[in-house]
């Protein structure tokens, strides 16, 4: 199943939850914000949200800035 | 809500100022209220010429060499207040008159033909006889003949001010008379004007009602003029902070002989008035300063360019007095009896431009 994450195409298995995808990317779910198809996903829904074919995902986090 | 310290505190602050304070205040770029207190102090008297120079320089920078001319139009001498200092006090036996809308318009047209473009509608405080309806109707009649219409009437509500603004009134003059609560209570014996706080909040209501300009002032001769000056400065600063879009003017009418024969409670000399004007100009470079015809021609001529920016001329303080100069029932007697042309000539002679029109009612949306 294909989704887009941060502009890149990623191959995932069906029934992948958002939290497991984030962990697969070697990211810490506690410090990452997720936007799926333009909507922000609440952190407490990371482990219940199932990803679908064609989802456009944005993973964002804090970086240094002025 | 605007809060003011007691007069004792204001006086203490003024008296605590040193000569060093005064010198610093004269050269400061931004003045604090403590600087104003210093300039109002007795010790500042010997610096009067330096204050005059600084005041003149600031006035020139902000206002150029112009003086705005306006005329008061008394529309009613009925009043429900009893104020010991005023010719219109309810217990004074004078001829009372309220002009009909046609009569008021006729008076206004006399002023219009004389060349006035700024008019101040004045009345005693008798809402049942003269209220917002009257003022609204009169403003609608006059708005196309005058560049601006100001009112000096009873305190109104924000909604009422907004209504009058829509009708063409652009500014409101409302003087606290005295910021000293004790003296305020002493001289206001009966009527709605006894409510010190309601009156104190009126400038804010007028500003909230979209008035372009609000004029505050104190009647000199009631309480200590120095503390009144400091109170006025505090009021100006508060209004600037909370209603930054509103222009401000300040006026200090000095008590003159009136029908009730009230003797001023304190003496205020011309020199004192000058110090007050210079101090406020230095403290607030942008405030319009009005010098009324209560003062004599000699003094008004001398003060041109030193701080004041608005002069009334050819004034009559009795309703109907422009049509009929023998009309009785004036609020106070005039010190400067010159006509508008004479005042303008004197202004020009001193090298200033008498501005008969500043602003345009056409800018005011219907």
């Amino acid at each position: 199943m294909k989704i887009t994450c941060n502009g890149e195409t990623k191959e995932i298995t069906p029934d992948t939850t958002l939290v497991s995808f984030i962990r697969d990317m070697n990211l810490n779910p506690d410090t990452v914000v997720a936007e799926c198809d333009g909507s922000i996903i609440k952190r407490d829904e990371y482990d219940t949200r199932i990803l679908s074919e064609g989802n456009v995902l944005e993973l964002i986090r804090f970086v240094g800035g002025g | 809500m605007f809060k003011i310290p007691s007069f004792t505190q204001l006086t203490d602050q003024i008296n605590s100022c040193t000569d060093e304070d005064i010198k610093r205040s004269l050269s400061a770029a931004h003045l604090s209220t403590h600087d104003l207190a210093a300039l109002l102090s007795p010790a500042a008297d010997k610096h009067l010429e330096a204050m005059a120079k600084r005041s003149a320089d600031i006035t020139a920078m902000r206002f150029g060499r112009t003086t705005q001319i306006y005329a008061p139009l008394y529309v009613s001498s009925f009043c429900t207040n009893r104020c010991s200092y005023c010719g219109f006090s309810a217990d004074n036996k004078i001829e009372r008159r309220i002009l009909s809308l046609d009569e008021a318009e006729a008076e206004a047209m006399i002023l219009h033909h004389r060349g006035f473009n700024h008019i101040l509608l004045v009345s005693g405080e008798a809402p049942a006889k003269l209220g917002v309806d009257y003022l609204e109707k009169l403003a609608l009649r006059l708005r196309n003949r005058f560049a601006s219409i100001s009112i000096e009437v009873q305190p109104l509500s924000t909604e009422e001010y907004a209504r009058l603004f829509a009708a063409g009134v652009t500014s409101v003059a409302i003087y606290q008379e005295t910021y000293d609560r004790d003296i305020y209570d002493r001289v206001h014996i009966a009527g709605r004007k006894c409510d010190y706080d309601f009156r104190l909040e009126t400038p804010a209501r007028a500003a909230a009602g979209s008035m372009r300009e609000v004029g505050i002032g104190a009647l000199l001769g009631l309480a200590d003029w120095r503390a009144e000056g400091l109170a006025l400065g505090l009021h100006l600063a508060w209004l600037r902070k909370n209603f930054w879009r509103t222009g401000l003017t300040v006026s200090f009418p000095r008590l003159r002989p009136a029908a009730g024969e009230f003797q001023p409670l304190c003496e205020v000399k011309e020199r004192d008035l000058s110090q007050l004007i210079f101090a406020l100009r230095i403290f607030d470079p942008d405030v319009g300063i009005i010098l009324s015809t209560r003062e004599e021609a000699r003094y008004r001529n001398g003060m041109l360019g030193l701080g004041p920016t608005r002069y009334s001329a050819g004034s009559c303080t009795a309703p109907g007095g422009y049509s009929d100069p023998d009309t009785n029932g004036e609020q106070f007697s005039i010190g400067d009896q010159r006509s508008i042309n004479e005042v303008c000539a004197a202004i020009k002679q001193k090298g200033f431009d008498p501005v008969r029109k500043d602003w345009d009612s056409a800018f005011q949306l219907q």
Partner: protein
């Protein structure tokens, strides 16, 4: 003590966290500065470098996070970033930065006002970054901004307080705290901002690109304290002339 919205701060130096050579230097600089509020930005995670996470060195318990909306070119983008920041758990505080011109990074006044109005309504505590425009500062305060952040000079220029005169007007008229942000290149610039009455300053570039950022952070902290102390002590005014009288303003017309 400085109060912004419902928080009090002992330190009047806020720190930006961008442009540091390493997370370790950043961490030490924050400690040296004594700052209680730091700004962070929001960016896409670099999927090729997932471990590069600034949150490894930043301690939420020690200072308040102020996410900025840097990168936003209009109010819509700023609002999106604001909501992402809130979802990231940074609370309601927001430094609103709308900079459509990537060359100068100067803030767009119109989009900033629009975004402030929208975000204040949505419960954000908005600190807008603006050019030192006094009327804009007033409009933003009317719209509910919790503070205003006028620039001393454009971001990264280190030119100091070139907007001094306008900032003084803003301070004079302000009903909320004024935080001078951007362009402060040296501790003396920060001291000057505080001397003229700013409530706080925000410094980033000058510290991050200094030879020794940790030492520079400490220097800025001292400068901010010195400037504030001077302001509270009441600086003596400079006097230009001490002339006593002038023939031009003879007051002989006064009778009594």
């Amino acid at each position: 003590m400085l109060k912004i919205a419902d928080r009090t701060f002992r330190s009047r130096l806020f720190l930006g966290t961008g442009k540091f050579d390493s997370a370790e230097t950043l961490k030490k600089a924050i400690e040296a500065s004594g700052s209680e509020m730091i700004t962070v930005a929001l960016r896409r995670v670099d999927l090729n470098d997932p471990a590069d996470d600034i949150m490894n060195v930043l301690d939420r318990t020690k200072y308040l996070f102020l996410p900025n909306t840097s990168g936003a070119r209009d109010a819509k983008e700023a609002a999106r970033l604001a909501r992402l920041a809130r979802a990231a758990g940074s609370g309601d505080w927001l430094k609103l930065e709308v900079t459509p011109d990537p060359r100068t990074l100067l803030p767009d006044p119109i989009e900033t006002l629009k975004a402030t109005e929208e975000l204040v309504k949505d419960g954000f505590i908005v600190l807008p970054y603006i050019n030192a425009d006094p009327v804009l500062a007033l409009r933003l305060q009317d719209a509910g901004a919790a503070a205003v952040m006028p620039l001393g000079a454009p971001i990264g220029t280190n030119l100091g307080m070139i907007t001094r005169f306008q900032v003084e007007i803003i301070i004079d008229q302000a009903r909320v705290p004024v935080v001078v942000d951007a362009g402060l290149g040296a501790p003396s610039d920060a001291a000057l901002a505080m001397e003229i009455g700013a409530d706080a300053v925000l410094v980033n570039t000058a510290i991050s690109i200094a030879g020794d950022p940790v030492k520079m952070a400490a220097a800025f902290a001292q400068a901010v304290e010195a400037g504030r102390a001077a302001y509270e002590a009441g600086l003596g005014k400079k006097s230009s002339e001490a002339s006593a009288s002038s023939p031009l303003t003879g007051l002989d017309f006064i009778k009594d």
